[in-house]
């Protein structure tokens, strides 16, 4: 848990170089060593984020499929000081738990003050949170302004909690997404301009047309430009509940990632609304876990019907080994997963909205005590059930955003793990903090023997359902990097499968598995998932790919506490 974050001052870093209207860090006619130190630092940051130089359009860690001899933009994993090292990014991280998808009374389907959400999230173990009210006409005119003072007040009241302002973007031609920026004097103006110009609800741009898809790309370009010009230090975009309505097509996801690498960094691997599946017989809402209960619409991409439901509480894009997520990773480019609450109204809540007509004010008045327990709400508080754990170098806003951008992320449900560290290292390397961590890329000569080491702190404290979760199994998933697919709407890849499973014994506090990856002959990635072992079934692509994967969730009878999983993001191996 982070304490004493102290001050988070952020200076406007725009420096105007002589004769150029570009900020100095952007003006590549000025050599690195002639820049002021702060501009040099900013240029290095922009390079790492994939926002500067020839590599921008084709940013990717691995060369496969990337054309034109562009310098790889190191969109993930390569810490500045380790750019030239074969093994990068060692060292210890502070693992900060967070949630990038939280609603307040500035959403027409929300009800809480910012401080309500932040207090609860903090009490449930979160270090960072992003307030993401829905883009809408009311929000663009009223809410985006009014929520900012509440966020500033929450930062002041709870100094050891990082509270970002963001919004839930109605992506033109697609689903929702989180957009958020590093705090600073322009956070509000950048978000407001973004919402007014690029939100599909504000712009009536929801249909799956090429023009609307292009508007989404323009929105991401706007964010990239805001970062380049130093209006905000950083901006991130993540696709929310991506498979829920079938309207995030594979080529759109690829398009976002490729348009703004370093900003468009990933998707919710698991949606919020996890209480939805609790059965009516047990006093729950009796709905779909994750509120994934829809069917194809006119705007849907022709995904199979299986994609419209959660599997073990996770989105089908993530839960399917060899599915859409792996087809993105197999290109050799980053695309990370997160897990969030999407908290609007909480299961077993007794408070009610302060007024009934959102349209009168553009927000709901402060909640009031309603006197009855609501069993139809489908959400848990931030941090109560889903957590996104980010490896940060310090307790700061920028470090959390860096950790997210670099893919140092693992996610879990129900407090399944107390901690996780995972590295790929040269076989036999026993040095402390050796190896390449989550999200990183290890670059080795062909033939180098590598091993994966997974160290897990098992849960020893009860979770918020008052039991100590028991990890039963850990699966190692490996996929070949095969480059850009011939079909940009591909959502499977043939070379990824569960390669090894470890059973987890009982009565331990910590377990560590070392898995020999063999001699590296070509580029690949490795990722890990684990489960309490309560529910399992063959994966969508069959038992040869995933024999004991998550089972499809039963609508109306999916107890989220009785089906717990964790997922890590990948580590890449690049051969040369």
């Amino acid at each position: 848990m982070g304490h004493g974050h102290g001050h988070h001052h952020h200076h406007d870093e725009v420096g105007i170089g002589g004769g150029s209207d570009l900020p100095a860090a952007l003006d590549l006619s000025t050599p690195d060593d002639e820049l002021r130190p702060e501009d040099r630092s900013r240029r290095a940051f922009l390079r790492r984020a994939g926002l500067l130089g020839a590599g921008v359009a084709a940013a990717g860690a691995l060369g496969a499929g990337v054309g034109g001899g562009a310098e790889p933009a190191s969109a993930h994993g390569k810490d500045d000081e380790h750019d030239h090292a074969s093994f990068n990014g060692g060292g210890s991280f502070k693992w900060l738990a967070g949630d990038h998808h939280i609603h307040t009374h500035y959403s027409s389907d929300g009800m809480y003050r910012v401080i309500d959400q932040v207090q609860h999230g903090r009490a449930h173990g979160l270090d960072w949170m992003v307030i993401t009210d829905h883009g809408s006409e009311a929000h663009a005119k009223i809410g985006v302004d009014k929520v900012n003072p509440e966020i500033l007040a929450a930062r002041e009241a709870l100094k050891d909690t990082l509270v970002f302002q963001g919004l839930e973007w109605n992506i033109p031609a697609a689903e929702h997404g989180t957009v958020f920026v590093n705090p600073g004097k322009n956070e509000l103006s950048v978000l407001k301009q973004f919402e007014n110009n690029f939100d599909s609800s504000v712009k009536a741009a929801g249909d799956s047309t090429p023009a609307n898809e292009a508007l989404a790309i323009s929105g991401l370009n706007f964010l990239a430009d805001a970062v380049k010009r130093g209006k905000v230090e950083h901006a991130l975009f993540l696709a929310n509940h991506p498979a829920r309505n079938g309207i995030d097509s594979p080529h759109e996801i690829r398009g976002w990632r490729d348009a703004a690498p370093g900003i468009a960094i990933g998707m919710e691997g698991a949606p919020g609304h996890q209480a939805g599946g609790l059965s009516k017989a047990k006093g729950g809402p009796g709905a779909a876990r994750g509120a994934y209960g829809n069917s194809p619409s006119a705007n849907s991409f022709p995904y199979p019907l299986e994609s419209y439901r959660t599997w073990g509480g996770f989105d089908w894009f993530t839960a399917t080994v060899g599915g859409l997520w792996d087809s993105l990773l197999a290109e050799g480019k980053p695309w990370w997963i997160t897990a969030n609450s999407d908290a609007h109204t909480i299961f077993l809540e007794t408070a009610v909205r302060g007024n009934s007509d959102f349209n009168e004010l553009g927000y709901y008045l402060d909640p009031v005590h309603g006197g009855t327990v609501n069993t139809t709400n489908v959400d848990f508080w931030p941090g109560y059930y889903s957590k996104t754990h980010v490896g940060a170098t310090t307790d700061s806003y920028l470090a959390v955003m860096d950790g997210l951008r670099l893919g140092r992320i693992w996610v879990d449900h129900g407090g399944l793990l107390a901690g996780l560290d995972m590295r790929v290292r040269k076989a036999g390397d026993r040095s402390k903090d050796g190896g390449t961590p989550l999200g990183g890329t290890v670059s080795v000569k062909k033939g180098t023997a590598l091993e994966l080491v997974i160290s897990i702190d098992l849960a020893v404290l009860p979770n918020w359902a008052e039991f100590v979760p028991k990890l039963a199994r850990v699966d190692v998933i490996r996929g070949k990097v095969t480059g850009k697919p011939a079909d940009k709407d591909a959502f499977t890849t043939p070379n990824t499968r569960v390669e090894k499973s470890f059973e987890v014994g009982t009565g331990q506090k910590k377990v560590s598995f070392t898995y020999a990856l063999g001699r590296a002959e070509q580029s690949y990635y490795v990722r890990v998932r684990g489960t309490d072992g309560n529910r399992k079934g063959p994966g969508y692509l069959g038992v040869s790919v995933d024999a004991e994967g998550p089972a499809i969730d039963v609508v109306g009878d999916a107890d989220p506490w009785a089906d717990l999983w964790f997922y890590t993001n990948p580590i890449w191996v690049e051969t040369h």
Partner: protein, 169 residues
């Protein structure tokens, strides 16, 4: 002799399209097989198809310019049994409450029942219809796709109450 017709109004919403057509069919809805089709030509929208047995006629609106190809595609999907979601079909009104798979196959035009993410159904498997049964044309058969449901039952994939696609949440 059954006649297959495809037509199109450039509908955007599946449920609204279905509602309009069911009203138009009135008492004849149990004698035809009428489907919605999700098409991406010329752009994403909902088209219709209908199979009319001898002696049944329906007054259909003209297909607007530019949608003739889509209407033809809807007809082709239906005729070949490769696509379309049936919202009117013989026996639909009998599919209410809890029924066995055998009941569904004998009471209605549905020809097979599949289970997504679960063990195959047997004739005795109970189906919680939720009074909303919308089979799909798949591989030449009018197929009810189901999911595991409470108490070992199965239930149709499509739920009666959906969160509208473009709503919040």
């Amino acid at each position: 002799m059954t006649v297959h017709v495809g037509f199109d109004r450039a509908d955007k919403d599946v449920r609204a399209a279905e509602h309009w057509f069911v009203e138009l069919l009135g008492d004849q809805r149990d004698r035809v097989v009428a489907c919605t089709h999700l098409l991406r030509v010329p752009s994403s929208h909902v088209a219709f198809s209908i199979a009319l047995p001898s002696g049944v006629s329906v007054e259909l609106p003209p297909v607007p310019d530019g949608l003739a190809a889509a209407a033809a595609l809807a007809r082709e999907e239906h005729l070949s049994g490769q696509g379309g979601r049936a919202f009117a079909y013989p026996g639909r009104d009998a599919l209410v409450g809890t029924l066995s798979v055998a009941d569904i196959l004998s009471l209605s035009a549905i020809e097979r029942v599949t289970v997504m993410g679960g063990a195959p159904a047997t004739p005795d498997t109970l189906v919680e219809t939720r009074d909303h049964v919308r089979p799909l044309w798949m591989a030449g058969h009018l197929t009810l796709v189901t999911l595991p449901h409470v108490d070992g039952r199965i239930a149709p994939f499509e739920m009666p109450e959906e969160i509208p696609c473009c709503s919040l949440h």
